[in-house]
């Protein structure tokens, strides 16, 4: 075990993770530092192959038809030194009737000049479930570019849940770009939670494409920016011609404090008269009535703001 691996595990513990998870034979995992695979385990019903290349890591993940993976799969990605590049290319296939939940821990505690890119292509079959929760820990340097890109397609009567969060440490530059497509009776739910400060730059584009009858979509974001940080959130939800009975909602809330700046662009596009998509977007500072209420219970203004912001991002 080299130093980087040990430090990666230490950061993982700081994020609330436990090394015992990585030793547990019932739990699949994948640990990648930089572009080097350190550790990997598959379980029955799950094929997990990873290969380091000069310019990144290729990961193949397949959940065999009908298999519901009992325990969440833990993926640890990170770079411990101040600089480096990590490029993950993930090809995932969740076959018909299969289900999996992935907890992805992305750790860059000393980032000064780091690039972390993820290109994911995920194919979800019929009656299948896929949950992907990605949580970042960045430290206070702010010298990082994070670019997660995903194209996710769902068959019929399937479910996708994604949650992306950067709440610990500086964001740096985030360029997130997700495309999701739902077949008949399938549901998409995507949540992004980001806290930006310093001169962080946040760009999030999430696009849900409701292709099938009675498909469902919820694109939700909670962004807080302060200091000189900037954010732009583009949330698109489209109901196609064939999406009769589809329902969708875009829900974007951004809190702006100090000299920060935020933009929210909700975009709904409906091609079927029997589909319905709604949206709400609000940008504002911390609500005065909320502040007064908490302060009347003895909290200082700063403590009250902290409670409100944490609530938004919870």
């Amino acid at each position: 075990m080299d130093d980087a691996y040990g430090l990666l595990l230490k950061t993982y513990r700081r994020m609330g993770g436990s090394e015992s998870i990585l030793r547990d034979e019932r739990v699949a995992h994948l640990v990648i530092h930089g572009n080097e695979v350190y550790s990997s385990r598959a379980v029955e019903g799950l094929v997990l192959d990873s290969r380091s290349r000069a310019d990144g890591v290729d990961v193949e993940l397949r959940v065999k038809g009908g298999y519901r993976i009992e325990y969440p799969v833990h993926m640890c990605f990170g770079i411990i030194p101040e600089e480096g590049e990590q490029r993950i290319r993930l090809n995932a296939k969740i076959e018909d009737g299969a289900g999996i939940k992935i907890l992805s821990h992305c750790m860059f505690p000393n980032a000064e000049r780091i690039i972390h890119e993820m290109d994911a292509i995920v194919e979800i079959g019929d009656r299948a479930d896929f949950e992907y929760l990605e949580r970042h820990y960045h430290g206070e340097g702010g010298g990082i570019v994070v670019a997660p890109r995903a194209k996710i397609s769902l068959g019929d009567h399937s479910r996708l849940y994604t949650e992306f969060s950067i709440l610990d440490g500086r964001v740096g530059k985030l360029r997130m770009d997700y495309d999701m497509e739902a077949g008949e009776g399938s549901a998409i739910e995507a949540l992004a939670k980001v806290l930006g400060y310093g001169d962080d730059e946040i760009t999030i584009r999430e696009r849900g494409y409701l292709r099938g009858r009675n498909s469902r979509g919820l694109i939700k974001s909670r962004i807080v920016v302060k200091g000189m940080a900037m954010s732009e959130v583009i949330s698109e939800l489209i109901a196609d011609k064939g999406a009769e009975g589809a329902r969708g909602h875009v829900d974007c809330v951004e809190l702006v404090m100090e000299n920060a700046r935020a933009r929210a662009i909700p975009l709904v596009d409906v091609w079927n008269e029997r589909a319905k998509i709604t949206h709400e977007a609000s940008i504002g500072t911390v609500d005065k009535k909320q502040l007064n209420t908490l302060m009347s219970k003895g909290l200082s203004k700063e403590e009250a703001i902290d409670v409100i912001v944490k609530g938004y991002l919870r």
Binding site: D287, K289, S296, K297, G298, L299, S300, K301, K310
Partner: protein
């Protein structure tokens, strides 16, 4: 003199205006320890503005006058500073908080850790602890949670702004129980337009158009209010 020694709050010649309009006019009164002080008045009388001024909201700073709490002038103190001295307020329309559970919300207020008892006192069971203080609660439920938070604080002075408004199924007995619970630890300013609620007070004043019209025993004030203020003579003169 003896009365003065027992007062927890004294308001002296308080004047406040907003947007060039006089809201509170030369108000003077005092609230004794462990007593309930009613502020009765019609809509627009200045009752909530008085509550905000006493709590210390930035936008409701008095133009002149003094607010004395436990012998110390607090007119210039912030909300937080007043709250830390034992003053708190029940808001007429409590706000919602996304992502904050009832347990955590009450935890901000409770000094003894166990918050379940306060929920039970307002008619909610412990299943509510895991609910969020957001728009998934009805208006009545939210108000009850707010009442629980006030009980948990055990304030020396609780300002209750229309405690009965917005609660779905409510009885006067229920409000009375909460008021008497608060009275065990301190004093209560009970702001209301409801004569029955005003009758829960030990002493009461009638506020109209920012003035104290009358101050005295609650029966006397309520009787005067019913005779002289319903319907409001000022509005009758103004609108015919």
């Amino acid at each position: 003199m003896a009365m003065k020694d027992r007062s927890i709050l004294e308001v002296r010649n308080l004047n406040m205006s907003r947007g060039g309009r006089s809201i509170l006019r030369d108000l003077s009164f005092s609230v004794e320890e462990n007593r309930v002080y009613g502020v009765l008045g019609p809509n627009g009388a200045g009752k909530s503005s008085l509550a905000y001024a006493l709590m210390g909201l930035e936008e409701y700073k008095p133009d002149s006058g003094e607010i004395i709490y436990q012998g110390k002038e607090i007119t210039e103190l912030s909300i937080s500073e007043r709250a830390r001295m034992g003053i708190t307020m029940l808001w007429q329309e409590p706000v919602r908080f996304e992502g904050l559970s009832v347990r955590d919300y009450l935890g901000l207020c409770s000094r003894d850790g166990d918050v379940r008892e306060y929920l039970l006192k307002v008619g909610l069971d412990e299943r509510y602890l895991e609910r969020n203080v957001d728009d998934t609660l009805s208006g009545g439920e939210r108000k009850r949670v707010e009442l629980a938070s006030i009980l948990a604080l055990k304030p020396k002075l609780a300002i209750l702004d229309e405690p009965d408004s917005g609660i779905d199924i409510i009885s006067l007995d229920y409000i009375a129980e909460i008021v008497y619970e608060l009275k065990k630890h301190g004093s209560v300013i009970l702001i209301t337009h409801n004569e029955d609620v005003a009758m829960l007070s030990d002493r009461c004043l009638l506020l109209c158009d920012g003035f104290i019209v009358k101050e005295g025993e609650p029966g006397e004030i309520v009787s005067y209010f019913k005779r002289k203020c319903v319907p409001c003579p000022t509005k009758r003169e103004r609108y015919g």
